[in-house]
Amino acid sequence: MILVIGYGNSLCGDDGIGPYVVEWLAANGATLENGATVEHVEAVEYLVLRQLTPELIESISFAQTVIFIDAALGNRPGEFFLRELSPAIPYNKEAPGAFSHFASPINLLETAESLYGRRPIAYLYSITGLNFDLGSSFSAPVEAALPQLLGKLKSRIALCTSSALPKR
């Protein structure tokens, strides 16, 4: 199963980019090279979340691949980056916050491994935002980056699911 998780606050401008693209993918699917569409692939599950929380650990442990999509802070709004969240990448093991209720992708992956003995392949798409104020529209740079971002995501999902698809 491929788990695609878009998270962020859809009422805080560019922070809602993760939920938006995952809702789009879930509604429109992604046409793959063999003509099948990702929406018809049972192996793909789309999740739209405000924030990452610990109960995701179990679902993550069952997944073959997890794709996280989130907004990011940075100097070049509209840029997006792909990182493979491999175990080799060092990370800060501190709790995300003193009384915060969120978890990070790495925290969830690490805990899936320690609790359930499985850590899936995982990718994080980070989209640099410009405006995080109240509002449901995206800034111009993020809006402009959307087509390319959706294209990259469709390709990534296709790549992850290709082995699970029926041959035509």
């Binding site: 962020g8 606050n9 650990i57 989130d70 980056f81 995300p96 003193a98 009384f99 805990t111 320690s114």
Partner: protein, 469 residues
Amino acid sequence: MSREIVIDPVTRIEGHSKITIQLDDTGNVQDAHFHVTQLRGFEKFVEGRPFQEMPSLMARICGICPVSHLMASSKACDALMRVNIPRPAVHLRRIMNLAQIVQSHALSFFYLSSPDLLLGMDAPPEQRNLFGVAQANPQLALGGVQMRKFGQQIIEMLGGKRIHPGWVVPGGVSEPLSSDKRDAILKMIPDVLTIAQNTLTWYKQVFERYQEEIDSFANFPSLFLALVNDEETLEMYDGKLRFIDSEMNLVTEIAARDYESVIAEAVEPSSYLKSPYFKPLGYPDGIYRVGPLARLNIVQRCGTPLADEELVEFRKLDRNSSFHFHYARLIEILYSIEKIQQLLNEPDILDTRIRAHASPNRHHGIGVSEAPRGTLIHHYEINDDGLITRANLIIATGHNNLAMNRGVLQVAQRFITGLQITDGMLNRVEAVIRAFDPCLSCSTHAIGQMPLQIQLLAPDGAVIDEVKR
């Protein structure tokens, strides 16, 4: 995309907060404050909206406890329409509210507080988190994940989605419960009951190690506030507002709609979080606490068999210590699971008459329910067209603001010595706030990862030491 680039991820913090600790001329802690440094403005921007939109708008206040806002908001709209909602709809709303309490308490206890309790207040911060718990006690961590999932699954089954479900509506709920869903929820109950009982057993073995913290974690006389029903059992959805004192004696009991006769809100220039207080005692003497500790202090019994057994033991403790919020939270998890089971077995639970329809019949509507962190009040005023002209929300974290501030001062005076903040000191200051489980999610925003800043101030206000987490 192979460049190595450092990215600051936008994290889902529950608003920004700051603690300032003021020292006197001799270097002792003189004063301490917990500040919330971010404004949301929900009360203002809903003005002019049709009242029917309020539940779904209000649910957006918070990604952690949207159900609580949905509940209080829908009740306020019921009051505007002047309807009594059908009994099966009340059962269903109660079930969702209890599921919310389970998942939220599970997050607070297993995710945020169990690391302190399992690994110790002085354990290195890189270990003192759920992931450290997973290493040290996998069963405890697994229980937390499963408990949280149980609550979320019920919310998703009833509401159609986990976050911001739109199923609770003015007048009732939008869809009846199917027998399949009822049976699916009932099937999950035995496992989570066992987890709740095992966790209570574990907690009772460890909490007495923390006597110093029990003595100093917001351990002082104050009033307590919660909803109470005619049977004086635990009540999360409806009833009267009852205040008791630190000796557990009744102070006053009023209809929830009359809350303004006893509760007023003060504003401090240093925080966006208001400070509600009990009017007859004035500000700031009218300090009171809400939430699991207050609820268990106020009721005579929980009203479910297993939770009632636990309540007997709980009542032997010093019930003015906010450290016991943790214990109370676990008992409420147990109660909520039992109560969900009871409600699902009500004979009319599958009834299809689940919603009352009406136009607005009143210009004022007040909805009060118990959220995981305490009493939640939504108060709306509308014009003849049903548009909102005024909204006032008193959230649980606000009710506890004065108590949290006093608790921070108490812990700082007990544990902070010298002119530098050590990690053990810092963690205890944080832990006393964690005991209240404040939900600053009501200011969820995206400005990087800085949920907490602690400043040590000299008598002249100069910053002596500062820690950011």
